[in-house]
Amino acid sequence: MSVTPRNAALADAARSLRAPLLVVLAYLLLRALLAALAGHNGIFTPDGHVSPALIVLTMSVLVLRLVALFVVPALIVYRLIARAIEHFRA
């Protein structure tokens, strides 16, 4: 299979999205894990019992959620637009 400039550009774009998409995947996996482990509890365990592991997991989900919502889309837009403009100018 020959590597055309267009295919090379697409492969380059896909490579640049790998890291941000891994963040989203990690968020979705940890969120599903939290849903499974927390049951009806959560950060604010109602009967006073606090699970440190659950707090760490919840805080990790929150941090990844903030990154996935505020940083990842902006990073993807930045990388795709910058590459697209450079590609068309070339």
Binding site: A35, G42, D47, P73, I81
Partner: protein, 379 residues
């Protein structure tokens, strides 16, 4: 010229960061505002499942000390009952599905172990001392849940209904005797928010059999305006002396938010007044809204009432504001606050139900009540 693509890309990235998160987090705001049956039913189902699991745990041989009990449990059962009752009022055909859980949750909120904190505080049980003058205003929370359950369930257990009638009579007598419109939660401590729950319980009791409570509600509402609200900020003072009406704390958003929700059951103008103060505390950033905990000129840390306070914004005040904003039709404010709730609440759909992952049972019960507020409003 070489930098131009990067500058354009950076600008578009910033626009994306400014617009996309608020859009994403606010996708369900309209569904909650417009009482979308499917959206409401998914969270309601999670609460029904929680209450059923709690019933199974109580029926088992688990030692009482390990059962879900205490102040937070009381609020969880109370808010589950209120949220489901509001759905029932909004769509009467759904009542048959919700009423058994409403009654079960309300009855559980009346259990002695739920009010241990108040019994210890006074060294007496509220139900054993109804002839006395001690306020026991914390008991307004379960009393309101039972009032709502009795409005909707003609088969509500008679024994508890009789206790509830006696509680309402005691609250009415104590409130009418108070020159400040306050009764104590703990010795020498009164919380206007708790008293608002008492007023709500009394007002909704009048809907059960038409009992006339207008005099006590008018007495309470007049004193909320004259003695419990800080004129400068429009917020209620969080903690006060019941007899002298002296502030023991600052005017705060968390107390005002929950008081505005409770006031809606009893007296709509009072709810509107409290909501106006709450709206003045609003801060927003990139389409996300929050309520500042402390009135201008006051400061403090987070506590059990406010939850964490970050950059002056209180978790509780922000969440509590959802109810009066929805009930009184402040759609734009509601949407901004809802986005923040969804951002940090982490909504999750699993099977036929949905819940907010970080709040647990108490968070989901509160959010069901707050996100469906409106049908319970006093005429």
């Amino acid at each position: 010229m070489k930098r131009a693509p990067r500058v354009i890309a950076l600008l578009l990235a910033l626009v994306t960061a400014a617009l996309l998160p608020s859009w994403w987090c606010g996708r369900d705001a309209e569904a909650w505002l417009d009482a979308d049956p499917a959206t409401q039913a998914r969270l309601a189902d999670a609460l029904i499942a929680f209450e059923a699991e709690d019933d199974r745990t109580r029926a088992s041989l688990t030692p009482a000390a390990n059962r879900f009990a205490g102040e937070w449990a009381l609020v969880t059962h109370q808010m589950a009952a209120l949220g489901l009752a509001q759905l029932c009022l909004a769509r009467p055909p759904d009542c048959a599905r919700y009423v058994p859980t409403i009654t079960a949750a309300a009855v559980k909120s009346f259990l002695p172990e739920m009010r241990d904190f108040g019994t210890h505080g006074w060294s007496e049980d509220v139900l054993a001392t109804l002839e006395g003058s001690h306020g026991h205003a914390y008991f307004g929370y379960p009393a309101l849940a039972v009032s709502m359950a009795r409005v909707l369930d003609p088969a509500f257990p008679q024994e508890i209904a009789a206790q509830h009638d006696a509680v309402i009579a005691a609250f009415e007598r104590r409130l009418l005797a108070s020159p400040t419109g306050l009764i104590e939660t703990y010795p020498n401590e009164s919380y206007p928010t708790d008293v608002a729950s008492v007023a709500a319980a009394i007002a909704v009791h009048g809907r059960i059999n038409g009992a006339d409570h207008r005099k006590v509600i008018a007495h309470w509402a007049e004193r909320v305006r004259s003695a419990q609200i800080d004129p400068a900020s429009g917020l209620t003072i969080q903690r006060m002396g019941a007899r002298d009406g002296k502030p023991h704390d600052a005017p705060r958003g968390s107390g005002t938010g929950l008081a505005a929700y409770f006031a809606g059951f009893a007296d709509r103008p009072t709810a509107e007044l409290l909501t106006a103060g709450l709206r003045r505390q609003q801060a927003s950033f990139l389409g996300f809204g929050g309520i500042r905990e402390y009135a201008p000129g006051h400061s403090g840390k987070g506590d059990v009432d406010s939850g964490p306070v970050l950059l002056g914004i209180s978790v509780s005040a922000t969440g509590f504001a959802l109810a009066p904003l929805r009930a009184l039709g402040h759609r734009d404010d509601f949407t901004r606050i809802y986005r923040t709730t969804a951002l940090f609440g982490v909504p999750f759909e699993g099977g036929a139900s949905a819940r907010f992952l970080t709040g647990g049972a108490i968070g989901n019960a509160l959010l069901l009540a707050l996100l469906t507020s409106g049908p319970e409003l006093a005429p």
